[in-house]
């Protein structure tokens, strides 16, 4: 699996692969290769959307003008 692939890109590629398979113009070898690729993409998509730990950071300005992000807690979190 390629690294740094974006979710959006993965979805687009999935759509392309499925369309290609549905059109049926591929050789058997090609179609199996594409299928394997698509399975990996689906796996990636599922993992991405299952990563439920949401992070909220607050950007804090440093004295030198740079910015650091720190965990942000709303009042609700504090309760």
């Amino acid at each position: 699996m390629r690294k740094n692939i974006k979710f959006e890109q993965a979805i687009t590629e999935l759509e392309d692969i499925i369309e290609g398979l549905e059109n049926g113009n591929l050789t058997l070898d090609e179609s199996i290769k594409k299928f394997e690729e698509a399975v990996e993409l689906i796996d990636f998509c599922n993992k991405t959307i299952e990563k439920a730990e949401q992070k909220v950071s607050v950007l804090v300005k440093n004295a030198d003008g740079t910015t650091t992000d720190m965990p942000f807690e709303t009042e609700e979190d504090a309760d």
Partner: protein
């Protein structure tokens, strides 16, 4: 020269123009009413001097008065006065001693009927719209599945909480970066611009939400800033604006790539619903599998139809066909040959018959005979002499004889005898 000394002067002594104007100015300036006065009228002859001062005339249906507003006051104005605008001026009336004319010194101009802020908002809106800052084609598309979302708002208050809650519920994989900013009062405008600038330059996020909860037009005023509007317009990161309630519209809303009616709505618009996404990906899985299955099925059917073809099923059939063809050809060759033979035979028979008719034997059979001497056929009497030994060929025998007399056949039927 002070007033008291002027009053005490001999009335016969003429005054200078400056002295008189100065005296009159003093009278004006001591009047309590003229010191703080409000006046209603319509602006005309409006001139905005390069120094920043405004010069204009305020008139009503009956009368008019010259007016001036100095830079120190014009700077604080939210809107730009225009000719024909109905306004209420607040200020004082005094004399411009140099010209000998009195005029209104305005400290503030208030639009008559509508609020100054509202007018300022309308003016800026019209200006930016004319410049094309709100044009639809300049809007950036929002990412469908953002992984990082920037939020510019107050770190306290309902807006930030609503945004976080909605994104958390709809799309947990997204990370939220909050840039805490003042959203009203002094410093808010600069703070908001700084925040937009940060997200645009750092490229930290895929999309940015800028906004705040509801409030009065004064509370929302920082979002009507021209400088903020221009910074948002030039930003390369897509920006969703959510200022106040559904009924509140700000310049920030118009110039942003998308206007959301409320902060919660902005959060909803910024991310997809994860439940729908699960369904989508699930659907892909199903489609993918069935696509592959049907693909393989298709190939298998193709293979089957190839297997079923006659040649593969009975390879000898091909040769048998050929053999049959050869046989057929052979037969037709033979037939053709036979027919040709027949024709030839018939032809031959005809020829034979014709030949037969011409045979001398046949002539002999009809009673004719051939005379020859030593196998030389005699055709004329000239070839004969008396006593020549001749052979007479009949149809069934040869007679040996000798010539005794010769009659020659003449034209006049006279017969000449050769003796």
């Amino acid at each position: 020269m002070d007033i008291s000394s002027l009053r005490e002067r001999q009335s016969t002594e003429p005054m200078t123009v400056a002295q008189l104007n100065s005296y009159i100015k003093n009278l004006f300036d001591r009047d309590k009413l003229l010191l703080t006065v409000s006046i209603r009228g319509e602006i005309s002859n409006f001139k905005r001097h390069t120094t920043g001062h405004f010069y204009f005339t305020l008139k009503d249906s009956e009368s008019q008065i010259k007016a001036v507003m100095f830079r120190s006051a014009t700077q604080k104005l939210k809107f730009l006065p225009e000719n024909g605008m109905k306004v209420i001026l607040r200020g004082s009336v005094s004399v411009y001693a140099k010209d000998g004319s009195y005029q209104f010194y305005a400290l503030n101009i208030e639009p008559d009927g509508i609020g100054a802020l509202y007018l300022a908002y309308e003016q800026l809106k019209a200006k930016l719209e004319a410049e094309g800052l709100f044009d639809r084609f300049t809007k950036l598309p929002l990412p469908k599945y953002p992984s990082k979302i920037g939020v510019i708002t107050s770190p306290t208050g309902a807006a930030v909480r609503d945004i976080i809650n909605v994104i958390r519920r709809r799309f947990p994989p997204a990370k939220i970066y909050l840039y805490p900013s003042l959203v009203q009062g002094s410093g808010a405008e600069e703070n908001l611009i700084e925040a937009v600038d940060f997200f645009d330059r750092s490229k930290l996020c895929d999309v940015v939400i800028i906004g705040r909860g509801g409030g009065s037009i004064e509370d929302l005023w920082a979002f009507n800033s021209e400088a903020l509007a221009r910074r948002i317009f030039s930003a390369q990161v897509p920006i969703i604006s959510a200022v106040g309630h559904e009924t509140d519209f700000t310049i920030c809303d118009f110039v942003s790539d998308l206007r959301a009616p409320t902060p919660s709505a902005a959060a909803e618009l910024s991310v997809p619903d994860i439940r729908e996404l699960f369904i989508t990906v699930d659907g892909y899985q199903t489609r993918l599998t069935s696509a592959l299955i049907s693909h393989v099925k298709l190939k298998r059917e193709k293979l089957k139809s190839i297997e079923q073809s006659k040649v593969l099923k009975n390879p000898l059939l091909y040769y048998e066909n050929l053999k049959e063809q050869v046989e057929d050809l052979k037969e037709s060759v033979i037939n053709a040959y036979g027919r040709k033979l027949e024709v030839t035979k018939n032809k031959l028979a005809v020829i034979a018959e014709k030949t037969n008719a011409l045979s001398p034997l046949n002539v002999l059979a009809r009673g004719y005979s051939v005379v020859s001497i030593n196998d030389k056929v005699i055709k004329s009497a000239d070839e004969l002499k008396i006593n020549d030994e001749i052979q007479i060929r009949l149809s069934d025998a040869t007679v040996f004889a000798s010539v005794e007399k010769i009659y020659t056949e003449e034209k006049n039927d006279e017969k000449e005898y050769k003796v």
